[in-house]
Amino acid sequence: MNSVILATASRYLLTLILMFSVFMLLRGHNEPGGGFVGGLVAAAAFALYFIANGLDAARSILRIEPLRAAVLGLLLSLLSTLPSLVSGKPFMTALWIDTGIEAIGKVGTPLLFDVGVYFLVLGITLTIIFALAEEECRV
């Protein structure tokens, strides 16, 4: 798509939407939001950038292969279950650090899990979108 306005705007919007997605991710513990929604919003940001600037630009600004991001996210979620296994509690028991961090709120394994979900959803959604886009370009 050749729109100067959209291309220019998408650069600023990318940052804004990504920040919003992190906000969604962090407020998710007690309010609507969370890793899944945050990941979808972030994927939407990159999808917008791709619509405005094309596939190669979107890939290069993402820096990491989407599938790899998904795998790393899943691995992170998996790692978040390790503390419960090590400390002898039942599998996936939530463990919290007593003193929360000012801007983030309560910190613990569920947050780690949510961050993992964020990257998983971001990666998978972009994998699907990019794969469909490549198909379109070739035809």
Partner: protein, 506 residues
Amino acid sequence: MNRLIILPVLVPLTTALIMLLLPRRIAVHRLLGVLSTLLLSVVSVILLNSVLSGGILSLQAGGWAAPFGITMVVDTFSCIMLAMASLIGLTTAIYSIGSVDEKQEHNFYHPLIQLLLMGINGAFLTGDIFNLYVWFEVMLISSFVLLVLEGKPEQFEGAIKYVTLNLLSSAIFLAAVGILYGMAGTLNMADLAMRLPMLEHRELLSVAAVLFLITFGIKAAVFPLFFWLPASYHTPHVAVSAIFAGLLTKVGVYAIIRFFTTIFTLESTPFIHHILLWVSAFTMVTGVLGAVAQYDLRKLLSFHIISQIGYMIFAIAIQSPLAIAGGLLFIVHNIAAKTNLFYLSGIIRLLSGSWNLRQIGGLYATYPLLGLLFLVPALALAGIPPLSGFWAKLTVIQAGLEAQQWLAVSVALMVSILTLYSMIKIWNEAFLKDNPLSGDEGQRGREYHGLSAGKKTALIAPAIILAMFTIVSGLWFEPFFILAKGASLELLDAGIYSKAVTGGIP
């Protein structure tokens, strides 16, 4: 010990993730595939051991108490299924090294197999109905991708049928889950087993039971719902066919056993077992008749899967301890024998260049040992003593006689003869008769002889392992029978299960 319960799910998942992080290292994929399934086998043996000595194990994920959180439960039945799944996983991992070509391996063949195993193991472990749905979907989505991995037209065509019917079954599953939750207010299997008998408004109970029966009936490929199976199982790569044939339908059978012994008992929904009896007879007959008509090797074997499912359903329909024990033995025997037949069909295809029995012949003259290897699972499937299939069939039929189901028993015996007939047909056509394509002798077996010695070993070894299993479990039948009997008593007494889950919080 309780923490081990999660391992059958975590091991394949971690392996798949490591494989996905190293997408170009095919050698690592192969090695990890074998190592992970080896570890799974060890874990399932340890679990079986501890369940036999210490009773049913359960794990409450996140430490949330039983009816509220998600529960993982291991009883003897789950242990047997886990052990069989890891055996098939291990042999398939070895067989894939020899048979799957590199293009597919680069398309994430090995991680997909691991994810498939994760879904299957999860379904065997879970104690929560909605969680079972989730594991079914994990299993299905990996199987969808494995089915079309080579991208051949007939694979797409088979996949359309497979995917559509399985999605339909998922939608029915969801509806049944909704109805059951609306009635009982819980989805924990142990909690349901206690609550259903004293439910006040039970009008919808039979609706939910029938919906569950249809869902699992589609997955298990029973009589009126099996059409996706022969339409799709002969299309994917033979290693994929083999693991599907061994495990996927058995997950459906597992769910039927779990639901219609522990949750919906003979007292609460008696008509279900009546339906099951008719379904089993029709499944046996239609499956074997379909097989008799086929000349395509893998289609013939696919129809046999359906016919053998009938015996398992028959065992569930009778519901006596002996019958359930027979059903379990039949599942164990069938998983090993059926998968082995698919492995061997792949080797036959490589040797002769065709799946069509009319174009194969004379293999016994050139490869007599392969012929003998083929006879082991084939005769076991037909129920010839002293192989494992004989004892399994004997137990089921004896239970049928005790329950005085003369008609169904005679059907089962007739089907047995037809099974023998179609196995002999393969033997005659592929091994005994003269080679129909004698003109171009040079073409034959070229594909097989072009393989390296390592690949040849990887093709033959799994078949030998499974054949040994069939022979050993036939000759030393007693420990298997005792195990199955224990598992069936445990299944039929829902109290043990419920107590272990809801009272066994660590």
